[in-house]
């Protein structure tokens, strides 16, 4: 349980980090919080030739708010996000999900960018990024690009981020102030802080009459990547939601989810169990989101 040998470089700027990654020719790995990379090195599941440490780059840390989005720099610690008033106010879904991410000791090191780049299909931060239509900013030594979360995740631990690219930030679009929005997050795991068996995130927007005008429902742990349940979103939007339609929304949700999901069976849970839990957690998340959104109607 000791890592294979590697070289180590401490990058002082984003440009320097991308240059090291380019020089690494695909064999370099980025060291952010190290909460997944270090275990993978220890178990020799990863054998990079060089580690590019980005912890010293001040431009990669912090939370910024502008007129259209909240920008979170890649190396911002999960603990900082959890304590951030900006996150709490503008991204309550992320704040809710973060309480399920590991433990305080791992959140003190673990970063938002690291979690996105690692792309575990059952992890919470990628799920929230997908549910909130986040965009992920990647830097290459000569160029940069911004990828919607819907296109970022390719499969288990696989993303569009090239080995020579650095994930520099994630942008969460701001919700209009006049909107009546509620969010919900539910998860089932073997122990608190473990990766989820299944996790569900919901964001629901209501108009002044209480009808649903927008819905984002996402699930983790049910496929190789987090997934948006678009069929369910459409039904929520088209039916509208008044006090008596939540139950029917629930009735719609169960068969819809069971039909489309593609979870795996493993030592933690069977595919069938994951499907059943997914339906229940999604409905709880939707229920919470609607209740909160109704409370926000002036």
């Amino acid at each position: 349980m000791k890592s294979a040998p590697f070289d180590y470089v401490l990058a002082k700027s984003i440009y320097e980090a991308t240059r090291y990654l380019a020089e690494g020719e695909g064999e370099a790995a980025v060291l952010a919080g190290g909460q997944t990379l270090m275990p993978m090195l220890s178990m020799r599941m990863a054998r990079p030739s060089v580690l590019v440490d980005i912890n010293g780059i001040t431009d990669l840390s912090g939370i910024e708010e502008n007129n259209t989005a909240i920008e979170i720099k890649a190396c911002t610690r999960q603990t900082e996000l959890l304590n951030s008033p900006i996150v709490k106010y503008h991204l309550p879904l992320l704040a809710q999900a973060l309480t399920f991410v590991g433990h305080s000791q791992t959140r003190n090191r673990g970063t938002i960018g690291g979690s996105l780049a690692h792309a575990d299909p059952a992890s919470e931060i990628p799920l929230v990024a997908l549910a909130l239509d986040a965009e992920i900013c990647l830097s290459h030594v000569e160029s940069s690009r911004q990828i919607p979360a819907t296109e970022f995740f390719l499969g288990p631990m696989m993303t569009v981020c090239e080995p020579t690219e650095l994930l520099v930030s994630v942008h969460f679009p701001l919700t209009k102030k006049e909107s009546r929005v509620g969010t919900g997050f539910h998860e089932m795991s073997e122990r608190h802080g473990d990766f989820a068996l299944v996790a569900a995130a919901a964001k629901i927007e209501l108009d002044n009459k209480g009808s649903c005008i927008d819905a984002a429902i996402a699930l983790g742990g049910v496929d190789g990547t987090p997934v948006r349940v678009t069929a369910l979103e459409k039904k929520l939007r088209s039916n509208g939601i008044s006090d008596n339609t939540l139950e029917s929304a629930m009735e719609l949700a169960i068969p819809e989810i069971l039909e489309d999901l593609n979870p795996v069976s493993d030592q933690h849970a069977t595919a069938d169990y994951r499907k059943r839990i997914a339906a229940i957690l999604a409905l709880r998340a939707i229920n919470d989101a609607i209740t909160e959104a109704k409370g926000n109607i002036a």
Partner: protein, 160 residues
């Protein structure tokens, strides 16, 4: 494999050393500095036995490289003792409340509990559970550990 010169402060004492890039802070503390209070458990960030304070913040030393502790302040379980080397208030409370059996998880538990008490002088049982949630103990069932932290918090408050 690259090697690097580091200057690191551990329990308020400064050390200079040359380390290979792949050496974890955990192995450096134990093998190079002979500070064996910090325990090697799972070595992949799950058990919490190797917890230390990194610039005052509890983290897992198996998931940090020794190089990353360059110019940083580290506190290990040895640093929680009184100046004369006798057990500190928290450590004494762990003894008095029978908060250990095999003792393997104890250094990590002490570090997590110490960090909690630094921020919160009167934590609830739930807050204690949250703070030690990342530390696995297979002996005690955790009850005496929670009671030990409550006892320490009471003694610390009484002494102020």
């Amino acid at each position: 494999m690259s090697s690097h010169n580091i200057r690191i402060s551990v329990n308020e004492k400064t050390y200079r050393s040359t380390v290979d890039s792949r050496i974890t802070l955990l192995d450096f503390l134990r093998n190079d500095l002979s500070l064996t209070g910090t325990h090697v458990g799972c070595e992949h960030g799950v058990c919490g036995a190797c917890s230390i304070l990194y610039d005052g913040t509890p983290v897992r030393s198996c998931s940090l490289l020794a190089i990353q502790a360059d110019k940083r302040q580290i506190t290990t379980v040895e640093g929680l003792c009184n100046a004369d080397g006798s057990p500190g208030v928290l450590q004494k409370a762990f003894c008095d409340a029978h908060a250990m059996q095999c003792g393997y998880c104890t250094p990590g538990m002490l570090i997590s509990a110490h960090a909690l008490l630094e921020q919160n002088s009167n934590p609830s049982a739930d807050e204690i559970k949250e703070s030690i949630g990342g530390n696995l103990c297979r002996c005690t069932g955790y009850i005496q550990i929670i009671e030990a932290v409550q006892l320490a918090s009471q003694r610390l408050r009484n002494s102020r």
